[in-house]
C-alpha cells in the first residue's frame, strides 16, 4: 500500500511538471494588432445559439467561396456556451467567432478573450452604421477599440393578451402604478398579470435600466458595484409587493410549466424584449392572434424610458488566425439586409444596425400579434434606451448569486433586496478573487 502511494505521488508530481508548461500567462490585449488578410482559402468556425443562423451563413458561404464559415450551435450563453468559450480560450482552441451578449462582453474582455478589431478594414468606420448605445457596449467607451460587432438589441416593451384585457374591460397599463391596479383586477378573475422570473436577472436589470439605475461603473482604474442603489431598491420593492400579494405567478422561466401558464391564458403579460416575440409564439402556440405589444409601463405618467434585455454581438476570439476575414464576415452578418432579414425571420432578432431598422420585414404586421406592426413599438423603445448602463466583469457569477436569492424570495424565504445585497457582496468578492480592481 505504501509503495503504491509513493508511486501515485510521483506520477502526480510528474504530471504537474508536464502540464505546467501549458498554463502560460495570458498576453496583454491593449494594443490593436495589425489585421491583415490571409492568403488562400480561409475556414472560420462560428459558435452561436441563434436559431436559423445556418441559413444566413449559407448565403455568405455561397457568395464567398474563399471565406467559408462553419456554424456550431450550443445552448444560450449562460446556459453553457460561455463556459465552453472560457474553457476553450484557456485550452487555446476557441472558435474564430462567437455569439456574446453585451452583458458578457466585459467578462470576456477581462479574461483577455477578445480580439480588438479596430485595425481590421471597415470596422472603425462601421460605428456610424449602428445604434449609438449598442456601439458603446462593444467599444467600452474607447474611441480606437472595437471588441465585437453588435448584432441585435433587446429593447423592452410589454406583450399583453389583448383579448383578455378587452373581454374583462381592464385598461392597458401605461404606468407601473396602473400595472399594479390591473394586476389586482386580473387576480380577481383567477389569472396573473405576469410571471416574476427567478432566474432572468438580466430581465430585472432591464427593468432597473428603464428606471434609470445602473449596477456598475468603471472609472478607468476601478470598478464600482452598486446592485442596491435607491433605483434598484425601488424596482425590487415594487416586485416584492406583487410577489407578497400573490399578484404574479412565480413559475421557473423557460420551463414547460411556464409555457403552459402563457399557453392556457393564466399569465396575461410579459415585460420582454423584441426577441421575446419568438419565445411567445413558440411557447404558447394556442394563443396565436390574441397578443399585442404596448410600450413599457412608466414610473411616472408621461415618461419615455425603456429598458433593454439581451441583445448580442459577434466577437472574434483571441487566437483566431484570421481576424481580417472574421471581421469582414461579422460586418456582413450584422449590417447586410439579407442576413438581418433572415435572422429577424428565424429568431425575431431586432437589428443593432441602423439600416436594419428600415427593413421591410420590420415594417410589416405580424400575424401572431393580430397583424400589429410590433416592431414600430420596439423601434420607439430602442430610441429610449439609456446609453449609460454598464455591465460588470463577472456577470455570470452576479446572475447566479442574485438568482439564488430571487429563488428564495419567490418561495417566501427572503426578499428581492436581500438577494441583491448578497449579490453585491458576492460580486465584489468574485472580482477581488481575480484581482479586478474594485471599490469596496
Amino acid at each position: 500500500m505504501k509503495k503504491r502511494a509513493v508511486a501515485v505521488a510521483l506520477l502526480a508530481a510528474a504530471s504537474v511538471a508536464l502540464t505546467g508548461c501549458s498554463a502560460s500567462t495570458t498576453s496583454s490585449g491593449t494594443a490593436a494588432a495589425a489585421c491583415a488578410p490571409s492568403t488562400g482559402k480561409v475556414d472560420l468556425t462560428f459558435t452561436t445559439w441563434v436559431p436559423g443562423m445556418e441559413d444566413a451563413v449559407a448565403v455568405w458561404n455561397k457568395a464567398n467561396p474563399d471565406i467559408q464559415v462553419k456554424v456550431q450551435t450550443g445552448p444560450n450563453g449562460n446556459g453553457g456556451t460561455y463556459q465552453n468559450f472560457f474553457n476553450q480560450l484557456k485550452a487555446g482552441n476557441a472558435p474564430d467567432l462567437g455569439q456574446i451578449e453585451y452583458d458578457a462582453l466585459p467578462n470576456f474582455r477581462v479574461q483577455d478573450g477578445l480580439t480588438d478589431l479596430a485595425a481590421c478594414a471597415g470596422v472603425l468606420d462601421a460605428k456610424k452604421d449602428f445604434v449609438d448605445w449598442t456601439w458603446g457596449q462593444v467599444n467600452f467607451g474607447e474611441d480606437n477599440a472595437v471588441y465585437a460587432i453588435p448584432q441585435d438589441a433587446g429593447p423592452m416593451a410589454m406583450f399583453y393578451r389583448a383579448d383578455l384585457f378587452k373581454a374583462n374591460n381592464i385598461a392597458i397599463p401605461t404606468t407601473w402604478a396602473e400595472y399594479t391596479a390591473a394586476a389586482e383586477k386580473i387576480r380577481a378573475t383567477g389569472g396573473y398579470i405576469t410571471n416574476f422570473s427567478q432566474s432572468d436577472i438580466n430581465q430585472f436589470a432591464g427593468l432597473v435600466w428603464q428606471a434609470g439605475g445602473t449596477w456598475f461603473k468603471n472609472d478607468g482604474t476601478n470598478w464600482t458595484v452598486n446592485l442596491t442603489d435607491p433605483t434598484t431598491a425601488k424596482v425590487a420593492a415594487y416586485w416584492q409587493d406583487l410577489i407578497d400579494r400573490d399578484l404574479v405567478s412565480t413559475n421557473p422561466p423557460w420551463t414547460d410549466e411556464w409555457n403552459n401558464a402563457y399557453n392556457t391564458g393564466s399569465d396575461w403579460t410579459w415585460n420582454s424584449a423584441a426577441w421575446g416575440a419568438n419565445s411567445i409564439a413558440s411557447g404558447a402556440p394556442d394563443t396565436a392572434g390574441k397578443w399585442a405589444v404596448a410600450e413599457s409601463p412608466q414610473w411616472a405618467a408621461g415618461d419615455k424610458a425603456s429598458g433593454n434585455w439581451g441583445g448580442s454581438s459577434t466577437a472574434v476570439f483571441k487566437g483566431s488566425k484570421h481576424p481580417y476575414e472574421a471581421a469582414k464576415f461579422a460586418l456582413w452578418l450584422n449590417t447586410s439586409d439579407e442576413a438581418l432579414t433572415l435572422l429577424n425571420k428565424s429568431a425575431n432578432l431586432y437589428p443593432a444596425a441602423k439600416s436594419g431598422l428600415e427593413l421591410p420585414a420590420l415594417k410589416a404586421g405580424v400575424d401572431f400579434y393580430g397583424g400589429q406592426a410590433i416592431y414600430d413599438v420596439f423601434s420607439k423603445a430602442s430610441s429610449q434606451v439609456s446609453p449609460d448602463f454598464v455591465w460588470g466583469p463577472t456577470m455570470t457569477q452576479t446572475y447566479n448569486d442574485v438568482s439564488d436569492g430571487f429563488k428564495a424570495a419567490v418561495t417566501k424565504k427572503g426578499t428581492l433586496i436581500d438577494a441583491l445585497k448578497t449579490g453585491q457582496t458576492a460580486t465584489i468578492a468574485a472580482m477581488t478573487a481575480q484581482s479586478i480592481p474594485v471599490n469596496k
Binding site: 501515485v8 506520477l11 502526480a12 510528474a14 504530471s15 504537474v16 508536464l18 502540464t19 505546467g20 498554463a23 500567462t25 495570458t26 498576453s27 496583454s28 490585449g29 491593449t30 460561455y82 463556459q83 472560457f86 474553457n87 484557456k90 485550452a91 474582455r109 477581462v110 479574461q111 483577455d112 467600452f140 427567478q198 432566474s199 468603471n218 478607468g220 482604474t221 476601478n222 470598478w223 412565480t250 421557473p252 423557460w254 420551463t255 414547460d256 410549466e257 403552459n260 401558464a261 463577472t394 455570470t396 457569477q397 447566479n400 448569486d401 438568482s403 439564488d404 429563488k407 428564495a408 419567490v410 418561495t411 424565504k413 468574485a430 478573487a433 481575480q434 484581482s435 479586478i436 480592481p437
Partner: protein, 319 residues
Amino acid sequence: MSASTARFTDVPGDTRTARRLAGRPGPRPAKPRVQHKRAILIFVLPFGALFSLFYLVPIGYAIYESLLVIKREGTFGAATEVFGGLSQYVLVFQNGPFWQSVGRVLAFGAVQVPIMLGLALLFALLLDSPLVRGKKFFRLAFFVPYAVPGVIAAIMWGYLYSPNLSPFSAVTQNINFLSADLVLWAIANVVTWVYVGYNMLIIYSALLAIPTELYEAARLDGAGQLRIAWSVKIPLIMPAIVLTAIFSIIGTLQLLAEPQVFRSFSSAVTSTFTPNLTVYTTSSIPNVNLAAAFSVVLALATFVLSFTFLKFTQRKEAQ
C-alpha cells in the same frame, strides 16, 4: 470542460470506478513472490498509460491550478497566474454555501444509500431465490433504468413532478415535490430509480458465485429460504455489498447531473446545491483556481469517507 473538473463528473457506479475498485481485494494471506515481472509490466502498460493520461494528469493539473492565484494590473489589465500557496484553500474553508452543500449531500447519502442498497439487495435475493418465476424478465426490467442517461432520467422525473403538467397532477398539485422541503428527496428518488438495478446486478452476480453445496447443507440442517438468505447468502456477499456502498458514497458526493437539471425547474435548487454544482458554478465565473481547490477538497473528502467506510466494515468482518 477543463481537465480539472472532468474527473468529478463521474456518475455513481461509474464503470471505470468499478474496474478500479474491483481489483482491490480484501484481507488475504501473505503474497507469494512475484514472478514474470516483465510480462506483468507489459500487461499493465496500456491500462497504466490511459490511467495516467485521463486520471492522474488531470488530478495533478487540478492540484497545480488550485495553488495559483490571478494577478492583474488595472481594469482590463492582462491577467497572470502566480503561485498563491494555499490561499484558494483558505477561501474554500471560508465558503459557507460549499459546506452547506456538503452537509446536504451527506444527509442525502445517509438516507438514500441505505434505501437504494436495501432495495438492490432485496431484488437480488428475490432473483436468486428458487421461488420466483420470470427471472430473466425481472433482471432486465430492474436494470433498464440504468440504461437511461442520468440527465434524461432527471428531465423525465422533473416532468412527472411538475405541478400542473404531470400526468399525476392530482397528487403534484397538492404535494409540491419541487419545493425546498422535498426537492432533495425528489432527487433521491430519481437517483434510486436509476441505480437500484445496477447495484442489484453486482450483488446478484456475487450470489451466483456461491457454491450450491452450501445451500444443500443448509437445507439438510433444516433452514428455510429466509434463513438461507439471512445466514448464508448475505454474509457471503458482504464484500459485494460493501463495494456497492462505496460506489454509492462516491456517487452521492459527486451528484451533479440530476440537481443541474432540477435547477431549471425548481426554485429550491440553487447554483450551489451540491458540491459539484458549486465547482461547476465557480468554474463558469470563470474562476478555475478556486474551482480546482473545491475539487481537490471534495476528492479528498470522498477518499477519506470511502476509506473510512472500508476500514470500518473490514474491522467488523474480522470480529
